[in-house]
Symmetry: C2
Subunit: 367 residues, 2 copies
């Protein structure tokens, strides 16, 4: 199976095998060694010296943690959204009583940092800004350094959904001044889902001290208290810790810079391959194209459901449809984590075979 | 390693091996088949026809879900506590703005159902009662049918922490009228941690419709919407689903009644073995003794830390210390899930060797 959805991403065999290890005492010395090692590795890959905690949940849980730990009901927050996951951040903040202003940008484009800055300049009551680094639902990557700089200029909290970016797309947590950054195990880390991560800057800790949104499971004060003794407050997904320890060691061995370059190359290679078939990318300006997932416009007259089913059943290639309002107008192919040029070639050649079977004519070959 | 802590419990080899399976699309047909199968099995093991949802979290996450889905800030709730996990239920409800009345019973005893009933009779404003079925921190099992009957008599919501009970101690969700029941993957189900479960009665759904506590990740309305299409709202811990599918099939093959009897026998066997060494059980009245974990009083003059370390390092037997206020006055030995009489024999014989080395004299053998 060539799993080309943007998470869970394929897991290397030696990482899968680590999942089959027997349980240990999560309050014993072996676990303390594992969580210490993984936390140190993750901090290096987040490019941060901030605190970092590991939660047992999906990425959405970490997004909730990124809201409830730093704000109070009634706080004004700005959410810069370019897709389904930006919208999710706004929905979470709203659910917990924040007064949310959502800056909606077109879903085929990136956030305009100048518009964010203008809003912050005009409204000093906005306490923080939530932004998606890489919008998985559309295949668009935001200019996070520019956005973070705009937010820091006005001294507000920078809260980043880096779920599909960190570890695959350059994210310099400290250099760019990102106060809170969240991700999870099943994206660039090449491990199964079950764990999420959150990094917390000193400024974010200050906000935490006054934040009154209700919290228990996601409380980073509890996470800090327990990490100090090599534990998590609640029973962790032990097996995914085993997996992460193996996969993060591989990642560091290979080197983050090399991995970022690999994703750049795969992103470009995938886009070129799709365009060569006469398909149109969803992203408006290719300079904002994501290097971890590519969204393609569903060509007029093509049967999207049949396309995805045939790819899966007849070729073992699993792509993702669009999400929310894009569910029938795009499809997505991921190139994130444990993926080679050969995997992309395999997916592209299957797409090339299936397209004419579902109503899309490939361009004539040039003679 | 003979892991005798009350979770994570040891996982059978074929269940561990299932953890090593490659990722699949969590929004595809294979996953829909798995979640359908597991949900049906869990409902039978919960002895319920209520709805049941699987969350990616530890058991504490499911406890939070059991609070925020059914109550509003300011709601009066009663928490009947006999230990650290009863206290945790109260702390969660308080964190989310419930007006919590905690009925504290001695930690070596069970809840008195008559006292619960008297409180409900006296105060019609109490909306629901949270109760721990088996208090893992003390090795005491509550008389849940009697407590639930008392609560139902006054028509309040019955919210049960069954984290270390269901699947090992008889819990008749529907027959006893338990509205909300929570547990997790790493106890009686013999699977690794990472998933939690919550069952929801029609009465609980009615409460949910009016419940205003803030929620997003734990929202059972989202869980329901997605389960209807064979999915979870957020990316699930896929590998633990694989594991559960194998372990629950084994459990059903063996038969719930046989498994409950097995735990009864192991509980009695463990208690008798410990008492024969001259140790004193923590539980006051042995009729309330838990059949999944036994707490033992730390004998005067015994070095508890050295005892636990020697057992672990020299004999590969991992026991748990006490929790909260009992951290230095008891130790605990679990007999829950994938455990045989031989495992208990091995633990007991190691204890018998170590006791005299750390300051406790075994009784003289009778001649």
């Amino acid at each position: 199976m060539n799993l080309r959805i943007p998470g869970p991403t394929p897991v290397p065999p030696e990482v899968l095998q680590a999942m089959a290890k027997q349980m240990i005492n999560h309050r014993g010395p072996e676990f303390a060694e594992i969580i210490g090692d993984i936390t140190a590795r993750l901090k290096r890959l987040f490019q941060t010296e901030n605190d970092l905690y590991i939660l047992t949940s999906s990425g959405t849980g970490a997004m909730e943690a990124a809201v409830v730990n730093f704000f109070s009901p009634g706080d004004r927050v700005l959410v810069a959204s370019i897709g389904a996951f930006g919208d999710r951040f706004a929905a979470i903040a709203k659910a917990f009583g924040a007064e949310v202003e959502k800056l909606d940008f077109p879903w085929d484009s990136a956030v305009d940092p100048d518009i964010v800055e203008a809003r912050l300049k005009a409204d000093p009551s906005i306490k923080g800004v939530m932004v998606t680094h890489n919008e998985t639902s559309t295949g668009v990557t935001n200019d996070l350094p520019a956005i973070a700089a705009a937010i820091r200029k006005h001294d507000r909290l920078v809260v980043v959904d880096a779920i599909s970016s960190v570890g695959a797309i350059d994210l310099r947590t400290d250099e760019w001044g990102c106060d809170v950054v969240v991700t999870c195990s099943q994206k660039s880390w090449m491990a199964p889902p079950g764990l999420a991560m959150i990094s917390v800057s000193p400024r974010a800790w200050e906000a935490h001290a006054n934040a009154k949104m209700p919290r228990y499971y996601w409380d980073i004060s509890a996470a800090k208290r327990y990490l100090d003794i090599g534990q998590t407050p609640w029973t962790p997904a032990v097996s995914v810790f085993y997996a992460l320890q193996v996969s993060l060691a591989h990642i560091e061995e290979q080197g983050l810079a090399n991995i970022l370059r690999h994703h750049e190359e795969l992103g470009r290679y995938t886009r070129e391959g799709l365009k060569a078939m006469g398909l149109e990318l969803f992203v408006k300006d290719e300079r904002c194209a994501s290097n971890v997932v590519t969204a393609v416009k569903n060509p007029e007259g093509m049967d999207l459901k049949a396309f995805l089913r045939k790819l899966r059943v007849e070729h073992g290639v699993v792509l993702a449809a669009g999400q929310a309002k894009l569910s029938s107008s795009i499809f997505r192919i991921a190139h994130l984590g444990y993926v080679s040029k050969e995997d992309i070639d395999d997916a592209l050649s299957a797409i090339r075979i299936v397209l004419p079977q579902v109503g899309f004519s490939l361009p004539k070959a040039r003679v």
